[in-house]
């Protein structure tokens, strides 16, 4: 066991992928965003200069190039930096990568990973704070991983790189400074297996990526009030471990979905709908969604905090669900 920064785990996952398979090449360089950790990617580049390509500011072109490279035999890991820039590449991600295996009738696969940093990072304002997971998930043909801690991150990326499908690797700059235990030997983590990050009996909190950390913090506070929260981290949205969610809700009878995306047609909507469809009888209280408010992300800090799901909001929502307060 080692303790490791999440940012270090990103680099370790990239290094293991590069060193473990000659076909793995990186396209793009902002895996660690503009955070101070970014220099670690520079180290990787110096060690493997022939395995990283710095593309032009042309997300559509270079993500599409990743698709073609994957078809030709590479296993590219393509970085889009800030999630908002994936919009530039949507025609290639949504209409090519997601469709190719299917529309070729299984003749062709696209073994690539597409990385982005999503969400409110502090001052990113309306154009640099997106969480496009819901849009990706609304597009059949894409696998989606949403790691929330260093060990999961490494295991999930290893599986993503080995997968023959296009996989979206969802990261968050606010995760980079978090720490976690990492076993000395990490195996690839199979997709579609949720992780119960904290067991509890009063309420299930579903959360992914950075929201897992906030939910765990809230759960700790709620424990002090005698409210026992189970925190479920799906680890992958596609495939989704529906069983684990339904099992947890069957146990607790209550569901709070915490998601950093916008409310309407968001990840939270999907989880709420799944549970409403399949666990109606288990629910002792209405489902509750907590998402970023449906406004573009404002720049100024007090407004920014007002719109995102905070620990405080999670605590309050959980409390009102359990106590009816």
């Amino acid at each position: 066991m080692r303790r490791m920064l999440y940012a270090e785990a990103v680099v370790e996952a990239l290094r293991r992928s590069i060193e473990g398979d000659d076909r793995v090449h990186l396209i793009g360089q902002y895996f660690l965003g503009l955070t101070p950790h970014r220099t670690m990617v520079g180290d990787l580049y110096r060690q493997h200069p022939d395995r990283i390509y710095f593309p032009p500011i042309a997300e559509l072109g270079y993500v599409g190039a990743g698709i073609g490279a994957a078809i030709a035999g590479l296993r590219p890991i393509v970085d889009c930096a800030t999630a908002s820039f994936t919009f530039q590449a949507f025609p290639q991600i949504l209409n090519e990568a997601a469709n190719i295996h299917y529309m070729s009738g299984g003749q062709t696969s696209v073994p690539m990973v597409i990385h982005y940093n999503h969400g409110v990072r502090g001052g990113g304002a309306a154009q640099h704070s997106h969480s496009p997971q819901a849009m990706m998930w609304n597009t059949p043909g894409l696998e989606i991983i949403t790691p929330s801690n260093p060990a999961d991150l490494i295991g999930l990326v290893l599986t993503a790189v080995a997968s023959d499908n296009p996989t979206i690797w969802v990261d968050h700059v606010r995760l980079f400074d978090t720490e976690g235990e990492v076993p000395d030997h990490i195996d690839p983590i199979p997709f579609g297996r949720a992780s119960i990050r904290r067991e509890g009996s009063d309420l299930t909190v579903f959360a992914s990526s950075w929201m897992v950390c906030r939910s765990l913090e809230a759960a700790e506070l709620l424990a002090g009030e005698g409210i026992s929260v189970e925190v479920l981290d799906p680890r992958t949205l596609v495939p989704l471990d529906e069983e684990a969610i339904l099992r947890s809700v069957a146990k607790t009878g209550r569901l709070l979905v915490v998601d950093e995306g916008h409310l309407r047609c968001g990840v939270g909507s999907e989880i709420a709908a799944v549970v409403a469809e399949h666990a109606h009888g288990d629910l002792v209280a209405p489902i509750r969604r907590l998402s970023t408010l449906d406004v573009p992300i404002p720049f100024s800090a007090p407004m920014e905090e007002f719109v995102e799901p905070t620990v405080d909001k999670i605590v309050k929502a959980a409390r009102s669900l359990v106590d009816g307060r």
Binding site: L60, G64, A65, I71, G73, P91, N95, Q107
Partner: protein
Amino acid sequence: MLPDLEPKALVEFLELMLLTRRFEEQLIELSQERNIGHFHVYIGQESTGIPALSLLEQGDLSFTNHRNHGHLIARGAEPGPMYAEILGRVTGYCRGKGGTLHLASAEHGFPTTSSATGGCIPPAVGAGFGFQRLGSDRVSVCLMGDGALEEGAWHESANIAAMELLPVIFLCENNSLEALGQRAGEYPSSTMAASDLTELASVFGIESVAVNGLDTRAVYQTMAEAVHRARTGGGPTFIEARTVRWPGNRPIWPELATGNTDLSMAWDASLIREDYAPWYREQDGLLGFARELVSSGFLTSETALKLDRQASERVRKGLAFALDSPYPEPEEALEHVFAPHRG
């Protein structure tokens, strides 16, 4: 002019051109009998695609678009599974999942076909990137229309190909010279301000050349140089092949405006009808190529007609195969969303 090749190769070109032409004429006829949906034909462009793509080898990859029938036939795809795909049968190359818009045959070097305009360009460049990084001498061919140059995908991808000297050939078939709405003489296409399409590539330092797409020799030689350049690390090439839009192609739904091609018009000018005389005389690359082959003595008109009958026969059999083929089970729709995880 004719390419500088063995007669056998030239005759093979004619066979493939005839096969393409008869394949599509048959398809148009079928579309008049039953609703087979929207499709795009390659008629009038055979003299470009067939010599150009003959230069590819096993392992090379081609990324084509909505107007792909001739490209697949050029690389040896069979009429049967092509028709089957177009008619949504399970025996189609894509098991009925792709249709005409996404007709692809990996065994013939067509891994995927995008019908989003410009959609094939980034992956084509990426395949070149992949080959380069793998240290392979394979090449990637981007089969695009002139209209695709209007999409930003072109610009971004051309820059990448040029910066990295990738083994990519952009074969841009400009069939808009006669496009409706075109500002004749001013713009080569209806909605492109560049007065010379090759400049859109040469601005990035990409080797660029325009050829008459009806001149099989020019097409063949230019493509041969481009393939050689790509295989030997010389980087990308942009080829604008200018063809004339077939009159039947003007409406959105193709019509046999010029009738089923009468191959004899190639050597018997008296058969040429008034209505589309310029087409038969100068603009149809297939007739032009046959005319040259026969007049140069590479082939007798009788042999040409025999090859034509053989092509029609292959096409007929292919269509029968397709029509006899079953549709996929509806549940097959659930397959091929994801490749399985191994290990």
